[in-house]
């Protein structure tokens, strides 16, 4: 009898596999980023590109764009695995479902949200964000985008078996994103006005840990329903 796979090994195996697959499908990484840039460009063009107008809406626009591009890329999280049957294999593996779900979410975050965070300063510059807001923007994205991935994964898991899951997914998930959006934009705004924003960050961090602990179980339950 083989010793059962340790949780860490299982996590690493799945993480490595998902990263490898993502890197061989570079379009999937690049397209959400392009979408992110284009949405921000559209905002700048539509409101008239006046520097002070841009400055006031910058935190909100950057965050909404980040949120939408995350949503766009989320569908890929379980869809391919569901279609080619590897999701069943994962669910039937001896390791608990929440481990594999967490590994997949982490892999997804690394290939979609991390590049987005690195790109954000550039777009903040285009949106004429106040220089004091950069650090806050970076920190809120760093803490906030994992929440988006975790909550989004629940929606993806619920809709993965449906043929037309796309629009439904946004209907399910976007309302749940509102608290993160509120806190993150408020933090960036506070930073640009030179007032303290550590409190906002602390609440975002609390939400992050809460969703880190609970979301994988909800995703596991949802996946079991979807493969039923």
């Amino acid at each position: 009898m083989n010793p059962a796979l340790s949780y860490r090994q299982a996590f690493n195996t799945i993480l490595k596999r998902d990263l490898k697959i993502a890197l061989r499908h570079r379009d999937d990484i690049v397209n959400p980023l392009l979408f992110f840039i284009i949405v921000i460009t559209l905002f700048a063009i539509s409101v008239g590109a006046m520097p002070n107008v841009l400055m006031t809406i910058a935190p909100g626009v950057i965050w909404v764009a980040a949120l939408l591009s995350t949503l766009l890329s989320l569908e890929r999280l379980f869809k391919n695995d569901y279609q080619d049957g590897s999701l069943e294999q994962l669910l039937l593996s001896p390791c608990p479902v929440f481990i594999l779900v967490l590994a997949k979410i982490v892999a997804h975050w690394l290939v979609t949200s991390l590049p987005l965070i690195l790109l954000a300063p550039l777009l903040a510059m285009m949106m004429n964000l106040h220089p004091d807001g950069y650090l806050a923007l970076f920190l809120t994205l760093l803490l906030g985008t994992p929440i988006l991935s975790l909550l989004g994964a629940i929606g993806v898991a619920l809709t993965v078996a449906l043929k037309k899951g796309g629009v439904l997914l946004s209907l399910l998930i976007l309302p749940l994103y509102i608290p993160v959006l509120i806190l993150a934009t408020a933090a960036v705004e506070a930073a640009t006005m030179n007032s303290p924003y550590q409190g906002h960050l602390a609440i975002i961090a609390a939400l992050f840990f809460a969703s880190l602990i609970t979301a994988p179980f909800a995703v596991g339950a949802a996946l079991k329903v979807s493969t039923n």
């Binding site: 009898m1 083989n2 010793p3 059962a4 796979l5 090994q9 299982a10 195996t13 799945i14 596999r17 490898k20 697959i21 061989r24 499908h25 391919n80 279609q83 080619d84 049957g85 590897s86 069943e88 294999q89 994962l90 669910l91 039937l92 593996s93 001896p94 390791c95 608990p96 493969t227 039923n228």
Partner: protein, 206 residues
């Protein structure tokens, strides 16, 4: 070792089977037969624990499979309709991942590929291979696995004659070592009649 009691399955308001009692003992080979849409796949998925029956339960060593999921999954090998092969990965990477997930060592991968006639394709992307070859990648595990219970949904689909023969040989070997094989197929098994049992699902009209 594995038994099911009073299984009822309803899909989209149609009763597929009702009050089915099954008992699988070590050394058994079961062929689930029946026309299309009689619930063969549903039955296999229920036995594997992927699907919940409307009624009844499946027990592994007298414990409901939901309650001993980790032990059961350790002893179970399920191959569904779709082979679970990622087209972005090479043949070898696919096989290695499958083995690692069941915590098996990956040193003999090359030998396994030989068994399923994929020698020389190790570094080919699965996307470039045929459906039959995809299935072979999934089946390669059978030559190494220590799982006692095999649940195979249409394992012979898209496999050539020689491959079918080898696979049947392997199935027989596994049963002789005290394993259980439950499979569906539309072809007749060429195993000796005394070695396997057939369960035929009938269509229920209500």
């Amino acid at each position: 070792m594995l038994n099911a009691s009073n299984l009822t399955c309803i899909r989209e308001e149609r009763i597929l089977f009702d009050a089915l009692d099954l008992d699988f003992q070590p050394g058994d080979i079961w062929q689930i037969a029946g026309a299309n849409g009689t619930g063969k796949t549903s039955l296999l998925r229920i036995l594997a624990g992927l699907m919940e029956p409307e009624n009844g339960e499946v027990c592994y060593q007298q414990t409901a499979i939901q309650k001993c999921a980790e032990e059961y999954h350790q002893d179970l090998l399920y191959l569904g309709h779709s082979p679970g092969v990622k087209s972005e990965l090479t043949v070898l990477e696919n096989l290695k991942f499958n083995l690692q997930l069941c915590s098996q060592d990956t040193e003999q991968c090359e030998k396994l590929l030989e068994q399923v006639d994929l020698f020389g394709f190790a570094d080919t992307l699965a996307a470039h291979l045929s459906a039959g070859q995809h299935r072979r990648i999934a089946l390669a595990r059978l030559w190494l696995t220590q799982a006692k219970i095999w649940i195979l949904d249409e394992p012979f689909t898209a496999i050539d004659k020689l491959g079918v023969k080898r696979l049947e040989q392997r199935i027989l070997e596994h049963a002789d070592q005290g394993g259980i094989v439950i499979l569906t197929t539309h072809q007749d098994l060429s195993l000796p009649k005394s070695r396997y049992q057939t369960l035929t699902l009938e269509r229920i009209f209500s």
